[in-house]
Symmetry: C2
Subunit: 374 residues, 2 copies
């Protein structure tokens, strides 16, 4: 029978599941935060994902629950599991994506390479970490940060006193060494509940102001060792944390050839948008296959190179769509993906994928096509 996949959250990740769901005949149902969100075409309910009864009512009519984001509270997730609902990824896995301190501790147990880190409860503890790590470090709020929010580079133990004063009794912040990285990478894998895992090629991600700006797939000049180590890290985290669905592991590559885990995301991820057009099985299809416990698709590339450039903010005047004629006329090979969101400075409102055999050409075209939407 037709599998009903319920997605909590109505953002662009849920939206981009619609296309593969239609083709695979999966019945996609979205619990959106509000009317008119990105995934509105598949929205069958609107409500607060933090409210157990809202989520429970939504879950009643689906075969499996998955997510557009990682913000559904553990209490809600665990109540669903207790109700007998299939939840992928499940709460035991999601806790590691929801709390960066819990994630760091677990990766340490698994002996996955990561930056030096500590849980710090006050300015004195932070200063001690700074003294041990060259006087500068990165402080993160363990929960709720994304796209550069909840992240601050500090040089003094008192630089995040505002965050310390907001902590609950016994609460802590995460401090990490400032990694001397030469570039950022991302490794995606998909894992089914039954255990099958497939890995995508490791990609290079370029961040600007803490937000993903572009992605090159595969990562240029990647040595065999790099490709192997990145894929192994993806496999070990997916298995060690019990992830189901897509997992994205953001990585630092250092000047001394270390690969260190930066962040995790347990859902389709911006670093994998290239795969919609550049891989035989795109990440949104793969996520649906994984959470429905269907055999996974091959992750082979369709072209030597694919480049994704985010459309951030969108036009200062008018709609994104007003720029289609000029962009499409100049770049008929560009694949434009829009999120159905109103333009707003810094907001992710779409992206452009371009694939081809020559990396310089592909980078140029993807940037030039995306520039029409600025």
């Amino acid at each position: 029978m037709t599998v009903r996949v319920g997605v909590i959250g109505g953002g662009q990740l849920a939206r981009m599941m619609i296309a593969p769901a239609v083709e695979l005949g999966l019945d996609l149902r979205v619990l959106a935060e509000a009317d008119g969100m990105s995934a509105r075409l598949a929205a069958t309910a609107v409500g607060d994902y933090r409210d157990l009864e809202t989520v429970r009512a939504f879950a009643q009519d689906v075969d499996v629950i998955t997510f557009d984001h990682e913000h559904v509270p553990q209490e809600v997730l665990r109540a669903l599991v207790d109700d007998g609902v299939k939840v992928h990824p499940g709460p035991d896995a999601l806790q590691f994506a929801q709390d960066k301190l819990v994630m760091r501790a677990r990766l340490a147990e698994l002996r996955i390479p990561q930056p030096d880190w500590a849980a710090v409860h006050d300015a004195a503890e932070l200063q001690a970490f700074l003294d041990d790590h060259g006087g500068r470090a990165v402080v993160k709020t363990p929960r709720g940060g994304y796209d550069g929010k909840g992240v601050r580079v500090v040089a003094s133990g008192t630089d995040v006193d505002d965050w310390f004063s907001g902590l609950d009794e016994g609460g802590a912040l995460l401090v990490e060494e400032l990694v001397p990285f030469v570039r950022e990478l991302a490794q995606q894998v998909a894992r089914r509940p039954s255990g099958q895992i497939v890995a995508y090629p490791v990609v290079e991600t370029v961040q600007r102001d803490g937000v993903c700006a572009e992605v090159i797939a595969p990562a240029p000049d990647a040595t065999d060792r790099l490709v192997r180590v990145a894929a192994e890290i993806g496999h070990r985290i997916a298995e060690g944390l019990g992830v189901t669905g897509m997992l994205a592991v953001e990585l630092f590559e250092t000047d001394d050839e270390r690969i260190l885990v930066n962040e995790l995301a347990m859902r389709p991820h911006n670093s994998g948008h290239w795969s919609q057009d550049g891989a035989v099985t795109g990440q949104f299809e793969q996520h649906l296959r994984a959470v429905a416990d269907l055999p996974l698709g091959v992750t082979e590339r369709r072209a030597a190179w694919s480049v994704m450039v985010n459309i951030l903010g969108g036009p200062a005047e008018g709609a994104l769509e007003d720029r289609f004629p000029a962009a499409m006329a100049q770049h008929p090979e560009a694949k434009i993906h829009t999120y159905g969101k109103a333009p707003r400075p810094g907001r992710k409102v779409g992206h452009v994928n371009v694939s081809g055999e020559d990396l310089d050409d592909v980078v140029y075209t993807a940037r030039a096509a995306a520039a029409f939407f600025a």
Copy 2:
């Protein structure tokens, strides 16, 4: 602003427009014949496409009207145009897809190569054609035939007396020579209202019992001349008939290297389903771009070969989706497309696309994956 594209007809062709419409941010609205049809996710109205007031009400809330099929009556189409509605393809073009006698006469005017043909009003006229063409011929009802319906091979002037007796006063049937073809081909082009045209590579189509069974893209062993002539025929028909949107020209290739036009379709077509996964711009995206008068996308192949195999009928028991686990496990490179229709003998319920560098491998895999759904 967001372009609202209204599609008349809720079948699988409308369904397969949903994925590119979502990614391009086009607001797709479907007038379906009934509830629960293939394109139900995008259905905003249900009603009879032959009823002017139904179609007129639907057209009020869209920017352009296009089609899942060619059956909307001329009176309805012309009334929409008179109302100022953009209709693509328009009635002047669609008449040639709606009436095969009108089509043959127009192609003759344009000097497009086609089989010998005649309009026959009775058994005597048919017998005269047979006497001139070796005693066998193909008779077609000018209107309403598809997938082998309304087509009969005859050897005597009296073989279609049932059809003659059903004709209106002055009505005629179309008779065509039995072309000694070595294979069937299809040429697709897309044309915008503003005149831009792009051509897809000519493909080989394999029919069984009058229904398309599989398609190989590009047509194997196609000479430069064949590729050029097929594309020229596509261009000339699109321009000569004023087609907007996708045009499919079904062709015979004869043993003496002639290319003759068999049938036309003015919409996305079964012979172009391979392009969803095998071309940079799939035919459903291209159709939307064309009817919205947006610049057309490149038609380059993503792989050396793509093969599409139709899923006809579907499983004798259970749903198509029940076969996913076995098919996907054996063929993780296959792209499965389902139409959300109940299995029924002979019915087109889905298709499988496979792309790759070795034709034998691609054909084998596509057939093997599709066989899981038989």
